[in-house]
Symmetry: C2
Subunit: 175 residues, 2 copies
């Protein structure tokens, strides 16, 4: 710690705003997804991550790691997604104790129809509010904080592969 537990005024102000953003932003994004697609941000993210995986298939624990959730939470959510017909669970051929989740065609379709609206809302609420430097700052600040969060597996998996090689210009589902 830099100088005792307390925060100075600048930090106080920064923190209050950040806290407000952390409250209001997820609520706003959830509201859009709920209204337009009947999905939670988390369930959408789950579908989106599967949609970007070759074969649209991932073991539950790998999926949990990519969406930063506990296995328990994911299991409940996938159960609901399965009831909707967007995902199926099947035993892995590789190992008897892993279950893989696979995105169905209906699920893929759901992602396709949901993604643009969600991306637009992300853009509207975040990037339209920022100039170019802002995008850099945001990425930088988020990366710095991420590095602090659960730096090595308290209960969850790795906090995002720090520098995933990304194919240039491809259209992702904006998870």
């Amino acid at each position: 710690m830099t100088e005792g537990p307390w925060l100075d005024d600048d930090e106080q102000r920064a923190w209050r705003r950040t806290a407000a953003v952390m409250t209001l932003l997820p609520a706003a994004l959830d509201a859009q997804l709920q209204r337009d697609a009947g999905l939670t941000q988390f369930s959408y993210l789950t579908l989106a991550m599967l949609s970007e995986t070759p074969g649209r298939t991932l073991p539950m624990s790998a999926l949990a790691a990519t969406v930063n959730s506990s296995l328990s939470r994911l299991s409940h959510v996938v159960a609901r997604l399965e009831q909707q017909g967007w995902v199926v669970r099947e035993p892995s051929p590789d190992s008897g104790r892993v279950t893989v989740a696979r995105l169905t065609d209906a699920g893929m379709e759901k992602v396709r129809e949901t993604a643009p609206g969600h991306a637009a809302e992300v853009r509207r609420l975040i990037f339209d509010a920022l100039d170019c430097d802002g995008v850099e700052s945001l990425a930088c600040v988020a990366a710095a904080i991420l590095g602090r969060l659960d730096p090595s597996g308290g209960m969850r998996a790795n906090p995002l592969s720090q520098e995933a090689p990304r194919a240039s210009g491809d259209r992702r589902a904006t998870g």
Copy 2:
């Protein structure tokens, strides 16, 4: 929108990281408060905001506005806080339809013992990860996004009084 709904690669990366932070950071802060004080971030914030109000008293709707919550959520939470003896609700003398929440002495004590640990965790997870420019960037980015969120009362109240005059150097409860 700047150029259609989709995000470019830089935005995509910034957004993924931000989403991860929005998932993991509240969880981490909640974990600390739960472990050390048996409080939610939200219930702590509620107590903290009352503790900073002259008279330790606020009408429910004013309190809801300062903690960015619906009245319903606040009502449930204050009911629990009341059971713990940290808050009492009483009819306002001013108007028959407002209820004020007042922080009890026990509640004030609770805030006093909880604040340092929470502030330390905020510092550890956020500010220790940032250099000085980082604090500026964070405040700036958060402010920009805040401006986009519910700019005038969708369902909730005002997203933080933008530039509240702050007494220099005083020690707040780090809500």
